[in-house]
């Protein structure tokens, strides 16, 4: 195996692991001795340094790790500071409305209403702190229950959940009738 390939393997290993990797393990992958492997890695460290690369390899005890160079921090901060475009998509809004009106509710129940998996949507809403876990349902599998947060009430200008406009039995009846009418219409055609 040529040096170029050995270096490529080390680069790929350190990159994909993210954390520090023991010299012994790297040597095993290359089927080389620890000393030979160390020599190659030292060579790479020098090369990265000389080329002023954005990443570097550091040695921690008997392990090596790939990380960004300190000089790069200010640019990374710039990336981190860029406002993330968080938006409440239709999917998120629908899921939020179901949770708001039917809380406490499990993911399964939300899925039943919407007809599609809601994992992603619920997770996003939790991340946005509009929805939180309320505990677990006392049922097989003990599924998590979700409800809206105080932050939700605040941002929608509601004092308490009682203030949410209620969807009552009459309205449900109305929907049913509408649906039936639509069906009859279809049959008439």
């Amino acid at each position: 195996m040529v040096l170029e390939q050995q270096e490529a393997i080390i680069e790929a290993v350190l990159f994909s692991m993210g954390e520090s990797v023991e010299l012994e393990k790297i040597a095993e992958v290359l089927e080389l001795s620890k000393e030979e492997t160390k020599k190659i890695i030292y060579g790479m460290m020098e090369k990265y340094e000389k080329e002023n690369r954005g990443i570097q390899i550091i040695e921690i005890e008997d392990a090596f790790q790939m990380c960004t160079r300190k000089e790069m921090y200010e640019y990374l901060i710039k990336i981190a500071k860029q406002p993330k475009r968080h938006v409440l998509t239709d999917v998120l809004l629908e899921t939020l409305s179901i949770i708001a009106y039917k809380q406490p509710i499990t993911k399964l129940e939300i899925e039943k209403i919407r007809g599609v998996s809601c994992d992603h949507a619920v997770n996003k809403l939790v991340e946005y702190n509009l929805v939180c876990e309320l505990g677990r349902l006392d049922a097989p599998g003990r599924p998590l229950l979700f409800g809206t947060t105080e932050e939700f009430l605040r941002s929608f200008g509601v004092q308490s959940l009682e203030e949410l406009p209620v969807l009552n039995a009459e309205q449900v009846e109305e929907f049913k009738q509408q649906a039936e009418e639509e069906m009859h219409l279809k049959l008439d055609v």
Binding site: K81, I113, F156, L167, A179
Partner: protein
């Protein structure tokens, strides 16, 4: 050969149909409908034990095939217009399905190739992470009002109502039998001893669920068989009178 066909699982009626066409080495544009229909029916005849839901989809196709077959057997009307081949619609469907099936193999290859690439979890240095800005809920919510949220909820619920199957929704739930026959018999025997003569309807007024009524009726039959009670009815559909035969 036949065994493999039997064991093969098809994704749907079109999948099965394509398989039959390939097996018979026939042109998709010129399906020998009589032969294929027979083979198709033979296959689904062997599927009996399959799930009814899956089966129904295969049966729809069977009906379509038979419909086409009968149209093709009928003598053509002598009209000026050139008649459309009754198979045309099916051919289009098969072609489209075959295309996507073909693409799915292509995708599979690509996925196997792409799987050989590894990604890395974010390793953002702590110094940088501290700068991560919190999510601005005010901005996120911005123009969404409670009224709007309510409207969204209503439309979602309406959608759900639309989806309810008008027939199956009437089926109700199958619940675990809460009353056992033994329990009912003991209860009824005691009741009979206490009341001596009583009417069946009167007894039923206390029962709530259909299941309870059925079990009570079974208990009556059981007790009658063992001679513990005697029943009489004047006319059909009249009330049934029950008389205890057990000495108090």
């Amino acid at each position: 050969m036949e065994l493999t066909v039997k064991l093969q699982v098809f994704e749907g009626p079109l999948d099965l149909l394509l398989h039959l066409l390939e097996k018979n080495k026939v042109n998709i544009y010129d399906i020998p409908i009589v032969e294929i229909t027979n083979q198709y029916l033979e296959y689904i005849g062997e599927m009996k034990r399959q799930d009814l839901n899956i089966m129904s989809e295969f049966l729809v196709m069977a009906a379509t095939l038979i419909d086409i077959k009968s149209k093709m057997l009928l003598p053509k009307e002598e009209t000026e217009e050139e008649e459309e081949d009754p198979r045309a619609e099916l051919v289009q469907k098969l072609l489209e399905y075959k295309m996507y099936k073909c693409m799915s193999y292509e995708l599979k290859d690509r996925q196997m190739d792409a799987e050989r690439v590894l990604f890395k979890v974010p390793t953002i240095p702590d110094e940088v992470r501290q700068y991560e800005e919190p999510i601005d809920i005010e901005e996120l919510v911005s123009d969404i009002t409670l009224t709007k949220l309510n409207a969204i909820f209503k439309s979602v619920m309406k959608k759900q109502v639309d989806k309810i199957d008008p027939i199956r929704s009437q089926f109700g739930k199958i619940e675990k039998e809460e009353v056992s026959l033994e329990e009912r018999m003991v209860y009824l025997e005691e009741y009979a001893m206490e009341h001596k003569n009583f009417s069946f309807r009167g007894l039923l007024e206390e029962q709530s669920s259909k299941m309870e009524i059925i079990v009570t009726f079974l208990a009556i039959l059981e007790l009658m068989k063992t001679g513990k009670i005697f029943i009489s009815q004047e006319n059909i559909f009249d009330d049934i009178f029950i008389e205890s035969r057990v000495a108090a």
